[in-house]
Symmetry: C2
Subunit: 347 residues, 2 copies
Amino acid sequence: MNESTINERARCLLKALIERYIRDGQPVGSKTLLEESGLDISPATVRNVVADLERLGLVHSPHTSAGRVPTEQGYRLFIDNLVSVKPLTSPEVRNIADQLEGDEDMDALVESASSMLSSLSRMAGVVMLPYQQQTSLRRIEFLPLTEGRVLAVLVLGDYDVQNRIIHTTRPYGRSELERIANYLNAQFKGRSLSVVRHELLSAMQGAREDIDRLMREAVSMAEQVFEADSQPDQDYILAGETNLMNYEEMADVARLRQLFEAFNEKRTILDLLDKSLQARGVQIFIGQESGYQALDSCSVVTATYGADDDVLGVLGVIGPTRMAYDRVIPLVDVTAKLLGSVLKQRH
Amino acid sequence: MNESTINERARCLLKALIERYIRDGQPVGSKTLLEESGLDISPATVRNVVADLERLGLVHSPHTSAGRVPTEQGYRLFIDNLVSVKPLTSPEVRNIADQLEGDEDMDALVESASSMLSSLSRMAGVVMLPYQQQTSLRRIEFLPLTEGRVLAVLVLGDYDVQNRIIHTTRPYGRSELERIANYLNAQFKGRSLSVVRHELLSAMQGAREDIDRLMREAVSMAEQVFEADSQPDQDYILAGETNLMNYEEMADVARLRQLFEAFNEKRTILDLLDKSLQARGVQIFIGQESGYQALDSCSVVTATYGADDDVLGVLGVIGPTRMAYDRVIPLVDVTAKLLGSVLKQRH
DNA sequence: GCTTAGCACTCGGCCCCGCGGGGTGCTAAA
DNA sequence: TTTAGCACCCCGCGGGGCCGAGTGCTAAGC
């Protein structure tokens, strides 16, 4: 029942079958499969072999006497052992790199990456926003807004600035806020967000009355700022969803609806991206493997990106199970690496 | 050929026909129309009248011997003269008001409004971001980022803060930036953005060498900040697009694709919203009236919102031409008014 | 002159049928 | 173990017939 039971010829035929099916979406019959594979055997032999493949659950025929279609396990075997990837050409790579390097801020960068993935694959591109915990705090600044509301400006990398509105129990003046900011900057500048959060916690617990009022207030403000951070941290940018409407496997409007609702909800996709955050490199979820109803008959090809050894996030491509993996895999791989190197370069 | 040529009975039948058609989407025959209208005449008479309506281009039959379906002109007449709107119940109104009042910042507010529109109409809700030109500048602040890049923070209303990154020809220190900010705040605080922009222009032209270096630099920085503003000013938040996939008139995937691409492109929808920015109150575009291919067989119901007499933006609902106008019109109307009053209240 | 009953007619939807073709599985021979 | 031959299967497609809903027309009635 496992792959070791299938010999070289069978693998060759499976590979040919899947490649052919990916190309034109029709069930593949023994005759077409024969010419596709280039093997020097008779159609009858092909039929025997394919019957074996069916018994192993690698292919499946939609009805008696149609050709065969790959199953999810078939695709799995194909991707793990058979696929021969077609690397991007160097102009293609340059094109992506140029695009990414031209972007001013983090949002634009992620947006570009997503739309590059989508346009080059003609499917949907998705890029998770970089995981913030590793990035270091460059500066924090406070501005008074209205009574009881203060704006916190967080400068993170060279290219990432975030605003937070926090609530205070009493009004603060500019100079007071400035002193608080100075204190916090002195304390936390250059530390990563996770370290900041951790130190804040111990600062709250360890010292009670032995720190002066300014410090106490500074810490409680910072608490609010960095606590608010924990929520919206996970997000992604999607591009080219509408490309998916071109594929016949998505012709069913109800299915399409499910998928697009999952895109809007974000939770499903985030969960999936989270899963691939664990592993390094390219990862592929085929159809039901993802475990989400909405992604039935879709595949998701992901890769983590990061600077050096820090994994900052995940990006990928979402499309029908019948996609050109040999092109998509290098595309996702290269884009992840390029995005990582741009982020690293900008520290 | 105009509406004056149709008498009371004909209007009554047209109204009944459209109401019935909106309710169940089937072509309406003379018999069902008769019971719908409650008139005391015979089916044959109904047929005669309906034949007249067809001659006037108000209804149309998909083929010989099916019932009748309203044309766009039919809908137009219906909306302008016949529709009897069903006002929202006061709990419904309260619900919307509560939702909007609970929102912290501008983005959340607009997001809420959009999703209220969508969920209550079961179609797509759209809210254009408030037009910025009237809003007054509360404070501007600069922070150095890297060499040659400065972060400008614009505080606009009580609830709207924006970041801009600008480029400078030489590095600026904190204190220098602070002085520049002070100068600009003294000069422009409380002025509306359009006034600021206008005054900047004359400041650039009027005075050349007779202003000192600080002022010149301040002005050129401000120029960059407020010029960058002109572009991204027009944007909208869409919610519940996927609701549209429920309607049979949207069953065609190609059409759906066009529509969703228009949503992504944003230009089409923005143009349309711009049009309704001119008029006050509720405005309705039926099918082709909008002039955009992508909105074929869709209607758009919009209303302007604002504080006092300033029109700040537009919001609305997008759905199939066959929608329950009697519910949607008050929904859009009320939501616009509530959003306006929240914005006004927050000055 | 408007309204109404009666009637012939039209057309879409549906089911059923028959046919052609691509493809299979089995068997028997090499 | 491979191969040729063959019977069989079933989808897709076009055509024919039937049903039902609804129309337009005509002629009679108020």
